[in-house]
């Protein structure tokens, strides 16, 4: 027996309260349940009388995907309703408005745009790591936790790369939201996580300029021109927008997914390391491309059917990983530093899209005496940066995928772990001090990193034949 949702209805232990939002496809209700103290909301699809294919399938997709997701960037699922009675999903309630309301105030100050964009990218990367391509990113699908994390909602068009795609071949027209939809998604692709990168780029553009990069097309025909027509460069609209930010935005909005950022983690990395963003022609552009260039692009794109997509979300993320190399620059560690570099070369041979973050840690003393200036009066920080660059010579990656950071911390292992977590590092490569007495007394940085990091860690050790012989003697 079917029931309709209304205030006061009791179902599966939930009591429906007031209506919070009524959208085109679903209604959101406030609900309570005697067992839960967390504020809850119930999403009920608006199923029209008779068979309403798109709404039903979208809701089924959400019912499949949402309960799989975990972490701060997705709403926690509390209950799922039976279609025969009342289809619904109950989740925790994320207080506050969606970014749609916030975006009405765009353009934002540059610093606010960067901060917002970084949080949006971080949430997106978390979703991709969980095998899901959102495929309908737009400001109204971003909520914010009071703690600052962005929460992605509405998975009605999403694709989980390990689950059946109920939407595949379901409809003949491309699905998505026209101002943000990526070219390949417009052409029918549902399996490229870089489609989300494009939508993210469109949102950063909007945050920075207050305008949509491709306007507000009302028809499918109106979406197509983004295959050949470039948006007005953001700096033409906001003259004081930094070149590096335009570089990031336009790179995310590249028509060919292969030319975009390959992962959301890489956008996040650039947004948080602006000084190290390699500037290309994109950064300098102040005008849209000439008619000739656009015409040539139109000629190439006019019959295009699609772009090559990755095998899976997972493969796309692991194809373009972030490798962090913690380099010890002290003179007695030179051989080890050489070994580290050789290992980076070897890893690059199999993962050419890898990004390498070279990091050096300055161990500061617990007593707060700032010793950033060494005896010779040179800034220690700068000299370490120079040292890192020197170490990385010969790693052929092009500047934009090779970055250098010097961290300061009383606890080197903690500094390395924190950097790795914050920057979505996939793999840490570091050296272990040999069989030195220092390690015996001070403890090993590498073993702490291995034990506590959230990602893979490879520890390189130089074989110390002399020490080995000594130890064998001692045992004997």
């Amino acid at each position: 027996m079917r029931v309709r949702a209304h205030t006061g209805l009791e179902i599966d232990g939930f009591t429906i309260g007031e209506k919070l939002h009524e959208g085109g496809f679903a209604t959101i209700w406030e609900v309570t349940h005697p067992l839960y103290r967390t504020p809850l909301v119930m999403k009920v699809p608006k199923i029209l009388d008779g068979y309403d294919g798109p709404t039903i399938v979208g809701f089924e997709v959400e019912q499949m995907i949402l309960p799989r997701l975990v972490g701060p960037h997705v709403p926690r699922v509390i209950g799922v309703g039976d279609f025969a009675v009342l289809p619904y999903v109950v989740t925790e309630r994320i207080p506050g408005d969606s970014l749609l309301v916030h975006f009405r105030q765009a353009p934002f100050a540059v610093s606010d745009t960067i901060e917002l964009a970084a949080r949006m990218a971080d949430a997106l990367h978390d979703l991709h790591r969980q095998h899901v391509i959102h495929l309908d990113l737009k400001p109204e699908n971003y909520l914010q936790r009071p703690t600052g994390e962005m929460v992605l909602i509405d998975y009605g068009l999403s694709r989980h790369d390990q689950l059946p795609d109920l939407l595949a071949e379901e409809f003949t027209i491309p699905m998505g939201t026209y101002p943000y939809i990526a070219p390949e998604q417009f052409l029918g692709s549902r399996d490229d996580p870089r489609s989300d990168i494009f939508a993210l780029g469109a949102m950063i553009y909007q945050a920075a300029t207050g305008k949509l990069p491709f306007g507000k097309p009302e028809t499918l025909r109106g979406v197509r021109p983004r295959l050949w027509r470039d948006p007005i460069p953001p700096r033409a609209l906001v003259p004081d927008l930094p070149e590096w930010l335009q570089e990031i935005i336009l790179r995310a909005l590249e028509v060919d997914p292969a030319k975009r950022y390959q992962t959301a983690a890489q956008i996040f990395f650039d947004l948080t390391h602006p000084a190290q963003v390699k500037l290309s022609d994109r950064a300098m552009k102040l005008k849209r491309d000439s008619r000739m260039t656009v015409w040539k692009r139109w000629w190439r794109m006019r019959k295009i059917k699609g772009f090559p997509a990755p095998v899976s979300v997972q493969s796309q993320i692991s194809k373009a990983p972030i490798l962090m190399v913690a380099v010890d620059l002290s003179p007695e560690m030179e051989t080890l530093a050489d070994l580290l570099r050789q290992n980076v070369h070897r890893m690059l041979a199999t993962q050419p899209d890898m990004r390498v973050a070279c990091v050096n840690v300055i161990k500061t003393s617990r007593i707060a005496i700032d010793s950033a200036v060494d005896d010779e009066g040179r800034n220690l920080h700068v000299s370490r940066l120079v040292g890192l660059r020197h170490w990385a010579e010969g790693i052929d990656l092009g500047d934009e995928r090779l970055t250098y950071s010097v961290l300061e911390n009383t606890d080197p292992a903690a500094a390395i772990i924190e950097y790795a977590t914050h920057n979505n590092v996939d793999h840490i490569l570091m050296g272990a001090r040999g069989h030195s007495s220092t390690r015996r007394y001070l403890g090993s940085v590498s073993s702490q990193v291995v034990a506590e990091a959230h990602c893979s860690v490879t520890v390189i050790r130089r074989r110390d034949t002399a020490a080995e012989a000594e130890e064998q003697l001692a045992v004997a």
């Binding site: 089924e60 019912q63 390990q162 059946p164 795609d165 109920l166």
Partner: protein
């Protein structure tokens, strides 16, 4: 409850053992065998005894076409299958032959239906190899999930509220939520003679609590089974088939 679904064991002792230990490792609480305990493979006696033991221990079982053919020769069978059954028949004890002959055609647990080939016309041994061929099973049965074997290639079909049947892509090892707005038909891959190009034993686990279905594959000692097939003088094509898994 976690239900392990095994089908098309086909007298492959090594594959059957490998699956049973995987089933135990993954903590299944119930076993359902969808038939074809014998045929093709070199160890019908052992597999039959093992199946009987499992049934005594509470497992459910249905009859497959090869099981039926032991006592009732099946003219529709291809020549290789018939040669293998002719080889099998004298090896089974009278008691084992009776066991296979008297197996039920279908089993049910709540809203789950278990059959060997299809829910419709069970005796005709229809191969469910497409959405179109899955449709009649949904028509004749009210079960929410239908499990069958017979095809030797794992597949999943859904039947939506509008009555449309679609094949759904799934991944080995990744649990699929069988959402309740649809009805489902799962073709479980073969234990003893996989035909999807992966020479590994197949089975599936359905969890009634989480409502998730997972298709599993387990490696087994293919070379040993192949040697036994050759030593037994069974058709060489049966040995080659295990090597390629196709």
């Amino acid at each position: 409850m976690r239900i392990a679904i095994l089908t098309d064991i086909h007298a492959n002792r090594e594959a059957f053992s490998a699956v049973l230990s995987d089933v135990e490792r993954r903590k299944a609480e119930r076993i359902v065998m969808l038939g074809d305990i014998v045929g093709y493979g070199p160890d019908p006696e052992w597999c039959c005894t093992r199946a009987q033991d499992l049934v005594e221990g509470g497992a459910l079982i249905v009859q497959g076409n090869h099981d039926a053919a032991v006592t009732r020769p099946d003219t529709a069978m291809n020549i290789t299958a018939r040669r293998a059954i002719d080889w099998t028949r004298p090896r089974l004890s009278a008691e084992q032959a009776t066991f296979l002959a008297n197996l039920p055609m279908r089993q049910e647990i709540d809203d789950l239906l278990f059959v060997h080939a299809s829910a419709n016309d069970a005796q005709d041994w229809i191969y469910v190899t497409s959405a179109q061929r899955a449709m009649p099973s949904f028509r004749v049965s009210k079960a929410r999930v239908i499990f069958c074997g017979h095809v030797h290639v794992p597949q999943l079909y859904s039947h939506d509220m509008n009555g449309r049947v679609k094949e759904q892509r799934m991944m080995i090892g990744a649990p699929v939520p069988l959402i309740r707005s649809r009805r489902w038909l799962a073709v479980v891959g073969s234990v003893g003679q996989p035909r999807d190009g992966r020479p590994m034993a197949g089975w599936a686990m359905y969890d009634t609590v989480t409502n998730e279905l997972t298709f599993h594959r387990v490696p087994y000692e293919v070379a040993l089974t192949v040697t036994k097939i050759r030593n037994a003088g069974l058709p060489e094509s049966l040995a080659m088939r295990l090597v390629s898994g196709a």
